[in-house]
């Protein structure tokens, strides 16, 4: 077609020009995240230098905080868990070119459902496994309903899912706020009462009695759920008929329709699964970390998940890796104050990685006569 080359925009500079790569070499596909991370850190270093900090000291402390010891890994795992779950959800929808931007809202609704189960549906005395199972199912269902709304609107009425899913984020957050300041509030504060212990996802540190080295490892078993689902999703997409349908739909919906694949049904289904996974992220946050519903318990995991899914090129296994990288970046943010600098640094690193990914699709050509 027409996009094979870029036309040189500047006729006076003749020697160098950018050309769209026809094919990304395989080495580049594999190496690109690493190269980009390096470049991003370099940019960040310049920024840190400018504000008068020692980049090496900051970076080594960031790395130390995030990956330096078991505690660091625990903290990073704690952040990676919701990112993996929501990232898987987002990637699933993106695979079908359904731009589900609503993971944040789906996460909140999932948390809301799980909270309803823990505080109001089941008695405190419910055995822990049953309690957690019902909470997980409820969280998934809640997220699925929330994701299903844009799905149905898209499938039936062709309403743009970017807009509906985005707007539903705000609805979900306000819905949550209504409950935590109203009916489910603890003394008017923006939080619900604490869950009974039976509704807490087990944390590693809970087993410190038997295994003393786990003391202070506050990461919870949600990470197992996340890892298992990543593998399951990877396998389903690769090896099942339904996974194949999704891949065809994602690659060329018109061809999928032609091949007898049901677009309407799959659109709704995928949006529901996508929302359900984000809902699980919400359940795992309230049951594993905050142990109650509260305002802003998610610092935008649902949005970060979009970037995670993209940088992982929608590959479920890569999502695990990228989530850890990201979680490390968030945890490492405590390494430097004021927080604005840490955020700026995170922003620069992200921007370079996302933007650089695009640039790597081009190559520099040195013109010859």
């Amino acid at each position: 077609m027409t996009s094979q080359t870029t036309r040189s925009a500047n006729p006076t500079v003749s020697r160098v020009r950018l050309e769209r790569r026809l094919e990304q070499p395989r080495w580049l596909q594999i190496m690109s995240p690493i190269i980009l991370l390096g470049v991003a850190l370099l940019f960040g270093a310049v920024l840190l230098r400018m504000v008068g900090a020692n980049p090496w000291a900051v970076y080594s402390r960031m790395a130390g905080l995030a990956f330096g010891d078991a505690y660091g890994w625990s903290d990073t795992t704690l952040k990676a868990t919701p990112l993996i779950l929501a990232g898987l959800g987002v990637s699933l929808a993106f695979r079908m070119r359904l731009w589900n931007i609503g993971a944040e809202g789906q996460l909140f609704i999932g948390a809301w459902f799980a909270t309803g189960v823990a505080l109001h549906l089941l008695p405190e005395t419910t055995p822990q496994p049953l309690m957690l199972l019902v909470m997980a199912v409820a969280g998934f269902v809640g997220g699925a309903l929330w994701g299903g709304i844009p799905g149905v609107l898209k499938a039936r009425l062709n309403v743009n899912e970017i807009i509906t899913s985005l707007m539903l984020n705000y609805v979900a957050i306000f819905w949550n706020n209504y409950f935590i300041y109203g009916p489910w509030s603890q003394r008017g504060f923006g939080l619900s009462p604490q869950f009974p212990r039976t509704a807490w996802l087990p944390r590693f540190t809970d087993y410190a009695e038997q295994f003393p080295f786990l003391r202070g490892i506050t990461a919870h078993f949600g990470i197992f759920l996340a890892l298992i689902l990543a593998i399951v999703l990877w396998w389903v997409l690769r090896q099942t008929k339904w996974g194949f349908e999704i891949r065809v739909l994602g690659d060329n919906p018109q061809a999928a329709n032609y091949a007898g694949i049901n677009i309407v049904r799959n659109t709704v289904l995928i949006m529901m699964l996508s929302g359900g996974l984000a809902g699980l992220a919400g359940m795992s946050e309230v049951a594993g970390v905050v142990h109650r519903l509260q305002e802003r318990f998610s610092p935008g995991y649902g949005f970060t998940a979009i970037i995670v899914a993209w940088l992982a090129k929608l590959n479920p296994l890569a999502i695990v890796l990228v989530s850890y990288l990201f979680a490390g970046l968030l945890v490492g943010g405590d390494a430097i104050q004021p927080a604005g600098i840490a955020q700026m640094l995170q922003g620069v690193i992200l921007f370079v990685m996302v933007g650089g990914e695009m640039l790597l699709q081009y190559r520099v050509r040195f013109g010859q006569v």
Binding site: K241, A255, Y258
Partner: protein, 505 residues
């Protein structure tokens, strides 16, 4: 026609990753000459012309315009030097008028536009070269042929003296082609140089002054158009002898496998495209649908495949009613469909060749169990089909977007035919294919006919329809206006029917 070369390309080489698209090719044309550039798909015609019009820079060789060396960095440079190209895919803004499109992208577009004056110029150019277009019409209102005229006017308005036309007749009906050739002659008479890219031998023979043949990226020969035959040209193109006649067994129709009665459907703009169309195809016959593009062919194929809803009438396949059945039910009923648009409809470009080959059969044994795909068997199946249909692909894992048009078409045919259909709808199956691939596709269609498949063939190539079809159904404004036995039908009658004339059959 003078002997001064209007442009000269010397020893041009252009390499793409893995392909040497042009290997030391030299090519020149004189002022006032119509020069045809002939070759199979992948022979390097388009690449060579892209170099001439500034889209690519060659890796080697030089380019002279009017005897002076030039170095184009962009199509803009080329246009300034008087070289303009009309692509197969037009570059027009559909919601703008003809005049506005002509102005679009002009280098020195003034801030305040003098539209009436421009419109007058557009009309003048149109009149001079027999390119009648309403300067105030919106592009989307125009037929493909008219849009092509706009493209040509655009180039002429920009002062192009060298016009490159990339397979210009592919989108035109026979009467339009006549008018178009007249335009080309007028332009040549006015001193313009015309490079005519084609692989249709008849056309080349009827219009070109000289013919340059490329094969596999290399220059083969440049010959004057005198005492040439199709056969010689074809063998130069393909590098071997080519047969133009097809052997066909007598017509022995079986049961009615596909029956459309009073079918109505809308086009993409939600206007009626099929108006109570009725048509029957029997087992073991090929029905060729002839018609001017845009008379409902696309919609006809799509309602049969089930990807376009039917608003009235009924469709039956092997006697079962499938009028409102989804695509999957049609597939299960035995309908195979070779779509008009190979890459947009017929394949999933990023999926592998093997996966594309399984697009129909992946649901059932042997390729799948209840839930799980059997990748191993998929692979074997793919290898079998690749060998059987001669699909040129590095491996079954290659993404299908890397295949050439001909090989992609073979892939689609392989997939559709290997599903052992009862009914095969083939829409423009040889469009854009080179001679070798065309030959192969036609052979496969005839084989299927032998096996008793009911085949509906849509084609813009009347020659093809006459060669393959047992019956010719002429479509005009969404209706079948004539249904003639192929062996007694004559070209003139079919042409008149296509144009909407009433003919006593």
């Amino acid at each position: 026609m003078s002997t001064n070369p209007a442009f000269e390309m010397r020893n041009i080489s252009k390499r793409f990753p893995g392909v040497l698209a042009n290997d030391n090719v030299s090519f020149a044309a004189a002022k006032g000459e119509i020069h045809a550039l002939l070759g199979e798909n992948g022979a390097g015609k388009s690449t060579l012309m892209s170099v001439l019009c500034g889209l690519y820079r060659p890796d080697g060789g030089e380019l002279l315009i009017d005897g002076a060396p030039v170095d184009f960095r962009s199509p803009r440079d080329a246009i300034r030097a008087g070289v303009g190209m009309v692509y197969q895919h037009f570059m027009l803004a559909p919601s703008q008028t003809v005049t506005e499109n002509v102005m679009l992208g002009l280098r020195d577009t003034p801030f305040v536009l003098n539209t009436p004056q421009l419109a007058a110029e557009v009309e003048k150019i149109g009149a001079q070269f027999h390119l009648p277009v309403d300067p105030h019409a919106m592009i989307w209102q125009l037929s493909v042929g008219e849009q092509q005229r706009v493209e040509i006017i655009k180039m002429l308005y920009r002062g192009a003296n060298i016009l490159i036309l990339d397979e210009p007749t592919a989108v035109l009906t026979p009467p339009e082609i006549e008018g178009f050739f007249r335009t080309l002659r007028e332009m040549a008479a006015a001193g313009k140089t015309i490079v005519f890219i084609s692989h249709k031998l008849d056309e080349v023979l009827s219009i070109a002054d000289r013919i340059t043949i490329l094969r596999g990226g290399k220059w083969v020969d440049t010959v004057a158009n005198a005492n040439l035959t199709k056969a010689t040209l074809a063998s130069m193109m393909v590098g071997r002898e080519v047969l133009f006649r097809l052997d066909k067994t007598p017509h022995q129709p079986g049961a009615a496998q596909l029956a459309l009665s009073q079918v109505q459907a809308l086009d993409d703009k939600r206007l009626p495209a099929l108006r109570k169309l009725s048509l029957t195809v029997h087992a073991g016959e090929i029905v060729g649908v002839a018609g001017v593009a845009g008379n409902g062919q696309r919609e006809l194929a799509e309602v049969i495949a089930g990807i376009r809803p039917v608003t009235g009438g009924a469709i039956a396949v092997t006697g079962q009613d499938v009028t409102h059945a989804p695509p999957l039910a049609r597939i299960q009923a035995g309908v195979a469909y070779v779509p008009e648009d190979r890459s947009a409809t017929g394949s999933a470009p990023d999926l592998s060749v093997a996966e594309n080959l399984a697009l129909r059969a992946f649901r059932k044994a042997p390729l799948a169990g209840r839930f799980v795909l059997k990748r191993q068997l998929m692979q074997q199946q793919a290898q079998k089909l690749i060998a059987q249909f001669g699909i040129a692909t590095p491996s079954p894992q290659t993404p299908s977007r890397k295949l050439s048009g001909g090989n992609l078409q073979k892939l689609i045919l392989a997939r559709e035919i290997s599903s052992q259909p009862q009914v095969l709808v083939a829409a423009y199956p040889t469009r854009g294919l080179d001679i070798g691939a065309t030959e192969y596709v036609r052979k496969v269609l005839l084989e299927e006919r032998e096996k008793g498949v009911a085949i509906l063939l849509l084609s813009e190539d009347l020659e093809e329809i006459f060669a393959l079809a047992d019956r010719i159904a002429v479509i005009f404004e969404g209706q079948i206006v004539g249904d003639l036995p192929a062996n007694t039908a004559d070209l003139e009658t079919v042409g008149l029917l296509m144009a909407g004339e009433q003919v006593e059959a």
